[in-house]
C-alpha cells in the first residue's frame, strides 16, 4: 500500500448534472486502463467495494434480483438500506437503488480499457460535494485496479481536500456541466 498521506486528488473531471422535475442526477465518467470484466468485479464484489466505494455491501451485486444491504460509510450514524438489484448485465450495465437514489453503472470497452459512467441522484445543495466525493472514490478505484491500493477515502476524510466548482450552464438551465477543481494541496 502506498502512503495515503501522499495522495492528492487527480485532475478535475467534468461531470454533468441533469434536473428532471425535482430530481437531480449527477453523471460521472471515469476512464480506467483496465478491461470491463475487472472493473465489473470492482463495482459488484463486496471485498472490492470495501476498498473504494462510499458504502459497504453485504452481498454481491452482480445478479439481478439479488437482495443486498448497503451500509453508508463515512457518516456519524448507522445508515443501512436494503436494495434489490434491478439489472446486472455483466460486464456492461448494473442498476440498483441506494436508499432513494437510483444508481446506474455503465461500462464501455474502449481502446486501452473501460469508460465507466455512473448516473446517481443527488440533492441539489450537495451536487459539488457529491461530485468531488465520487471523483476521489474513482481515483482510489483507479489505484486499486492498478495494484496500488490506497484504502478508501470518504466522508470527513474526503472533505479535507479544498475544492472549488465551476458550472457551465446551457440555455435550458436543465443540463449543466460541473468541474470540480482541486488546487494543489498537501495534507498535513
Amino acid at each position: 500500500m502506498i502512503d495515503r498521506a501522499q495522495y492528492t486528488p487527480g485532475p478535475a473531471n467534468v461531470a454533468q448534472v441533469r434536473k428532471d422535475g425535482e430530481k437531480w442526477t449527477l453523471i460521472l465518467v471515469k476512464e480506467l486502463r483496465h478491461p470491463p470484466e475487472k472493473v465489473w468485479q470492482a463495482i459488484t464484489d463486496p471485498a472490492h467495494l470495501r476498498q473504494w466505494a462510499p458504502f459497504d455491501a453485504d452481498g454481491n451485486l452482480a445478479a439481478a434480483g439479488a437482495t443486498v444491504k448497503l451500509t453508508t460509510v463515512g457518516v456519524p450514524a448507522s445508515h443501512i438500506t436494503q436494495t434489490t438489484v434491478k439489472r446486472a448485465d455483466a460486464p456492461n450495465l448494473l442498476e440498483y437503488t441506494w436508499g432513494d437514489f437510483n444508481m446506474r453503472w455503465e461500462l464501455e470497452a474502449v481502446a486501452g480499457g473501460t469508460r465507466l459512467t455512473l448516473w446517481t441522484n443527488i440533492a441539489q445543495p450537495f451536487i459539488a460535494m457529491g461530485a468531488a466525493g465520487w471523483h476521489i472514490c474513482f481515483d482510489v478505484l483507479d489505484h486499486l485496479l492498478g495494484g496500488r491500493p490506497l484504502g478508501r477515502i470518504v466522508g470527513p476524510e474526503a472533505m479535507k481536500f479544498p475544492r472549488s466548482s465551476s458550472w457551465d450552464c446551457q440555455s435550458d438551465g436543465l443540463h449543466r456541466h460541473l468541474a470540480i477543481l482541486f488546487p494543489p494541496f498537501r495534507r498535513n
Binding site: 463515512g74 450514524a77 438500506t81 445543495p125 450537495f126
Partner: protein, 132 residues
C-alpha cells in the same frame, strides 16, 4: 464521556432546517451528505459549541409509528430550556409558529408546546426555581 448530541426525527430535513433556524432561532452547525444520507445538525446561538440537535430523516416505519403516537398523546419529541418562555412564545408566534399550548404555569416551571411542522411537538421549559 459527554452528551454532545440529541436527535429528533423529522419528515423533511429542508423543512425542519427552516423551522429550527428561522422560527426557533437555532443556527445550522453541520450539514453534509454521503449518497442518500444527510447528516444535519443545529445548535443554539447561545451555546454554539454546546449540544447539537440532529434533524434525522425519519424513513424508518417503526420510528414513524412511535413519532405519530407520541404526537397524538401530546408528548414532546424534545424539550428545550429557556430563560423567558413568554418572550420566545411571542417571538416564535410572530414567525408563524403554531403553539398547541401557550406559556402555562406548572409545578416549578412555565412551559409551552409548539409544533415543529415535521411531526413533533417541542416543549419549551422555563424553570421557575430548582427543587431538591
Amino acid at each position: 464521556m459527554r452528551i454532545k448530541l440529541t436527535s429528533v426525527y423529522v419528515d423533511d430535513q429542508d423543512k425542519a432546517l427552516r423551522f429550527y433556524t428561522e422560527v426557533m432561532g437555532f443556527v445550522k452547525k453541520n450539514d453534509f451528505s454521503q449518497g442518500p444520507y444527510r447528516w444535519l445538525t443545529v445548535a443554539s446561538p447561545e451555546e454554539p459549541d454546546g449540544t447539537e440537535l440532529q434533524l434525522a430523516l425519519n424513513n424508518n416505519p417503526a420510528a414513524k409509528t412511535y413519532q405519530e403516537t407520541m404526537f397524538q398523546q401530546n408528548q414532546p419529541g424534545a424539550m428545550f430550556f429557556t430563560d423567558d418562555v413568554q418572550a420566545d412564545y411571542e417571538r416564535m408566534k410572530a414567525r408563524g409558529a403554531q403553539f398547541t399550548m401557550p406559556p402555562t404555569d406548572v409545578t416549578a416551571s412555565k412551559i409551552a408546546m409548539v409544533k415543529d411542522t415535521c411531526g413533533n411537538l417541542i416543549q419549551l421549559t422555563q424553570l421557575m426555581r430548582w427543587s431538591g
